[in-house]
Amino acid sequence: MAKRSPSSSPEDLSPLAAAREWARDRFAVEDLQHLAAKKQVPVHRYTVFYYLGGMALFLFLVQVATGILLLLYYRPSSTEAFESVQYMMADVPFGWLIRSIHSWGANVFVGVVFIHAISVFFLKAYRAPREMTWVTGALLLFLALGFGFSGYLLPWNTLAYFATKVGTDVPAQVPVIGHLLSRILRGGSDVTGATLSRFYGLHVAILPAITTVFLGLHLLLVQRQGMSVPRKIEREGGPPKTMPFVPAFLMRDMVGWLAAIGVLAALAAFFPWELGVKADPFAPAPAGIRPEWFFLWTFQGLKYLPATVLGIPGETLGVLFLGAVAAIFVLIPILDRKLSRAWNAAAILLLIGAAILTVLALMPVKGAA
């Protein structure tokens, strides 16, 4: 790479251009700039779904930012956690805003991740060569649920405490290692301050570290491979219409992101996230405890399980079924390849996907009722 001498006179450049020059001279960003300028996004009637990934990423970053701000006031001990959140809501300037955005944002983030996964599934963007993108994405979905589950306990209020109690009972149903799993998760045989410490460590250190790795992989793969085009569009033929990623696609992305942050701010102001009452382990469980909406399907499904089936406890079967579903979810690209020899098999896969989705969607409705 030819060495360039630093630019001579500063007056001939605008501040933005001067900054660019400065960066280029020191970080040799030329080839990256080239890549960014070259990156094209296919334009067709399904292009709108391409925005979902970026939206999920943006919402994740919002969670990280608000989460770091919350870290400055939150105290992860069972005697002080609730009070510290109460303090944030009442006394810290704009504490209510940061906390409500974080709580609402968590739900919107998980929702967008689900929709992103569903759209990728139906658009079959997981086809070769993007199988690993799907696998890392599936893992990211599980990580998102893990964030949601661990974060839910942190305010240490009644709802969170009992929802966690019920939730950590599920791993205990795994055969053989179930009780060990549950103990590791809870930091003991029951949900206590030790559980709070563990979930806090999970939520702010362990899960972020793992997410960084897989998110980095996921994004790298997307950048390296470009956006997938649905087969239907490919078959239509004609000249491929594209738009440059920078600035066209990015600006449209930003419109969406601005709308998202506006929605979150509005939710925070009109529907501030409830704090409730501090958890009292000795009080009886309140009527109607349920987990967050993204776990309602498991919660409701567990209710339909019979007590025993062929001598195996129903809950164990439920947990095994969950494990099977998760495994299938991760391996969809491979299953699809195996089945796509016959086109009707692919249609069957699609139908199964649609059926599962309908069930998943209806269960929370039933569960919330």
Binding site: L69, L72, E83, V92, I261
Partner: protein, 135 residues
């Protein structure tokens, strides 16, 4: 147009940065704590053989100074039917006006309907500052 875009982006960023900067500055009120509570009352305001009700964590507490000069604190909800008790100067004891329940300065229920004693709180005094701690 670029000017409009630049200005509105700048203003929006400012609208995000302003709350965050305000958030980072800690408020005047004391740190949240479940166990220790600083009172607004000054130690010298509480005369011997007198008492008053102070809010502690949203609940009433009877802060009083015995005739001998010792500053003490007890929960102020009568254990009978939850009326707020008061310090009775004439007899240097604690009395509940609702049904004539009486407690001594240690909080022990000595007469009347109250079934249980009042709970004591630890009192720490540094100069004029009184801090109460749940025992």
């Amino acid at each position: 147009m670029s000017w409009l875009l630049g200005t509105s982006v700048g203003a929006t960023i400012a609208a995000f940065v302003y709350p965050i900067v305000r958030y980072l500055v800690p408020p005047e009120s004391s740190e949240p704590s479940l166990t220790e509570f600083e009172l607004d009352v000054k130690a010298s305001d509480v005369r011997p053989n007198s008492g008053r009700i102070v809010p502690v964590g949203g609940k009433p507490v009877l802060l009083f100074r015995t005739a001998g000069g010792e500053l003490k604190a007890l929960t102020a909800k009568c254990t009978h039917l939850d009326c707020t008790v008061q310090y009775r100067e004439a007899r240097s004891d604690i009395w509940c006006a609702c049904h004539n329940g009486t407690y001594d300065t240690k909080g022990t229920n000595v007469s009347g309907p109250p079934p249980r004693p009042l709970k004591p709180l630890e009192v720490k005094v540094r100069g004029e500052k009184i801090t109460l701690k749940l025992a």
